[in-house]
């Protein structure tokens, strides 16, 4: 099985991604992660304004039979949350890199994105 791993963003070993939106980053989970979890039924993420730090707990995703902690790929302040997910957590399954994004973060340090795995490196990890 092959998973979608877009080149335009960085990844965590724990399967979160962050994309550069110029000063801010969007954060989500990878196609591989959503597939591993199965049907996602619930997500929990921080409120707007929350301070988050790289590799610290960002939230939780739940499928029917598993609970997974999410770790933040970046450090900064949450400026937007994808509230659509609260009513339609299946967006995480259907479109993990698009409509299934989790939060937007005002980056404390833009170079933080550079430390993430590249698409190639992440692909190697999940293969």
């Amino acid at each position: 099985m092959s998973f979608d791993v877009p080149d335009d963003r960085g990844y965590m070993e724990s399967h979160e991604w962050a994309s550069d939106e110029g000063g801010t980053a969007r954060v989500g989970i990878s196609d591989f992660a959503q597939d591993e979890l199965g049907d996602i039924v619930f997500v929990e993420f921080p409120d707007e304004g929350a301070e988050i730090a790289h590799d610290e707990q960002l939230g939780v995703v739940e499928s029917i039979k598993a609970v997974s902690d999410l770790y933040s790929p970046v450090s900064g302040t949450v400026t937007a949350t994808n509230d659509e997910l609260l009513d339609a957590p299946e967006l995480l399954n259907d479109d993990p890199y698009g409509e299934g994004w989790l939060v937007e973060v005002d980056l404390a340090d833009e170079s933080g994105l550079d430390e993430l795995l590249s698409a190639d490196e992440y692909r190697d990890q999940i293969e």
Binding site: F42, K65, A66, V67
Partner: protein, 442 residues
């Protein structure tokens, strides 16, 4: 089938089958299947002689016959309400009784629907949106409510306020549920049997996680200012947990209307006096859905797009979340919940309310009768009562309790000069005899 055979009467193997099966496995004998070091093997005997069904029934009956045949006027959390025959007969159907937790919902629709109906009845009775499908008993439900309060409350507060008058079992179990936390349990005073709301207002502060009150109280008094307690708790961001029971719920103020966040208690339906075997109620607000302990039955659709029932939101539970589960409960009291739902449905709204009203009038009648007797004052608290009440005695309550036993009655002695009596439809027919006995011992 041999009556007291050499093996287990419930292991159906003939010798020929055993041999054939051992052959199929490829071993000589049964012992060869055990991979157990010699050192730890047990070669002694338990000294338990196998007996026949008939012998065991007789043996147990003989034991039970050694219990004095008393009419119990006992309550304090465990109530003897009459359970219609229908409940025994239907709940005992083996498809219910001998089934497991509904992990394969496609072959467990019947039990799931019954539990869903049970949950729904509790939603109606409490006015809260979520009921789980059982806790062990009222005491553990209270413990679970407190751990929920500690998790769910955003402000850090660890004080848990409980009434000074509370059944020992409930308090002691609560203490154990909180033994692994940094919570402290404090008792607030009672005034004439009910919560002392002024004192409660003085002690309730922003560092409280939960306030617990009961209606009826352990002494059977009916609380008069519950919404005030609800408001107080709300002001301080503490959870308001209300203890009650399935019968009282049908008559007394609806918990949702007095600001209760969690409702717990023993069901008092589905089983009569059963040596303590009970059913813990647990209902709460939708806001706490993901913090609820225990199992929840929900509705979904099957592949034919028909309504179907299933256990749901299981990620809260121990088999998935392990040490971070909302509770450690696995096996619960599902069959008692089934019985309670049957019992409530059999009574219907009319029957249930009528039963609850009788709990008020029967207690009132008995108290009036006792109050006429010299040397006792009933009820001891100037309150309305539900099912039970306390009685002030001139003589030692402990002595009177013992002497009442000699007269054929079991009652509570709860303090030096306080007795407690509980009346339900199962003993209401004997209040004349009881009153006569009290007259003798007073």
């Amino acid at each position: 089938m041999s009556d007291t055979g050499r093996g287990s009467p419930f292991a159906p193997h003939t010798d020929a089958e055993t041999t054939a099966m051992l052959d199929a496995i490829g071993v000589e004998n049964q012992e060869a299947l055990f991979d157990i070091p010699e050192d730890v093997r047990f070669d002694g005997e338990f000294g338990i002689a196998p007996r026949s069904e008939r012998e065991i029934r007789r043996e147990i009956q003989l034991h039970l016959d050694r219990d004095d045949d008393l009419t119990a006027f006992l309550g304090r959390g465990h109530y003897d309400h009459y359970v219609p025959s229908m409940v025994d007969h239907l709940a005992d159907r083996s498809e219910f009784l001998s089934s497991y937790t509904q992990y394969q919902p496609e072959v467990a629709q019947g039990f799931l629907q019954a539990l869903f109906e049970y949950q729904s009845m509790l939603v109606e009775l409490t006015g809260l949106e979520i009921a789980n499908c059982s806790m062990y008993d009222g005491a553990s439900a209270l413990g679970e409510a407190a751990t929920l309060a500690l998790r769910a409350r955003s402000v850090d507060g660890t004080r848990v306020l409980i009434p000074e008058l509370l059944a020992d079992g409930r308090r002691a179990v609560l203490e154990n549920y909180l033994a692994g936390t940094d919570a402290t349990i404090e008792r607030y005073p009672m005034a004439d049997g009910n919560a002392d709301r002024e004192a409660l207002a003085d002690t309730l502060a922003d560092d409280c996680a939960m306030v617990y009150a009961e209606n009826p109280t352990v002494r059977g008094t009916i609380e008069e200012g519950l919404s005030e307690i609800g408001e107080l708790a709300d002001e301080h961001g503490a959870l308001f947990c209300l203890g009650t029971d399935g019968v009282a719920l049908s008559l007394l103020e609806k918990p949702a209307n007095v600001g209760a966040d969690v409702v717990v208690g023993d069901a008092a339906l589905g089983l009569g006096a059963s040596g303590g075997l009970g059913l813990g109620l647990f209902t709460t607000h939708e806001d706490f859905l993901r913090q609820v302990p225990g199992r929840l039955v929900g509705v979904g659709e099957d592949s034919d797009e028909n309504r179907a029932y299933t256990l749901t939101l299981q990620t809260r539970e121990q088999h998935i979340r392990r040490e971070r589960a909302t509770s450690n409960i696995c096996t619960n009291q599902a069959w008692v919940a089934l019985r309670a739902a049957m019992h409530a449905a059999w009574l219907g709204a009319d029957g249930l309310v009528g039963l609850a009203e009788d709990c008020v009038t029967n207690a009132r009648d008995l108290a009036d009768r006792l109050d006429d007797i010299d040397g006792v004052e009933a009820p001891a608290h100037d309150r309305h009562h539900f099912r039970e009440f306390t009685v002030r005695t001139d003589r030692s309550a402990a002595d009177m309790r013992e002497e009442l036993e000699d007269e054929g009655f079991a009652v509570h002695a709860i303090d030096d000069h306080l007795l407690q009596f509980c009346v339900t439809e199962t003993n209401a027919g004997q209040i004349d005899e009881l009153a006569a006995a009290v007259e003798v011992v007073a």
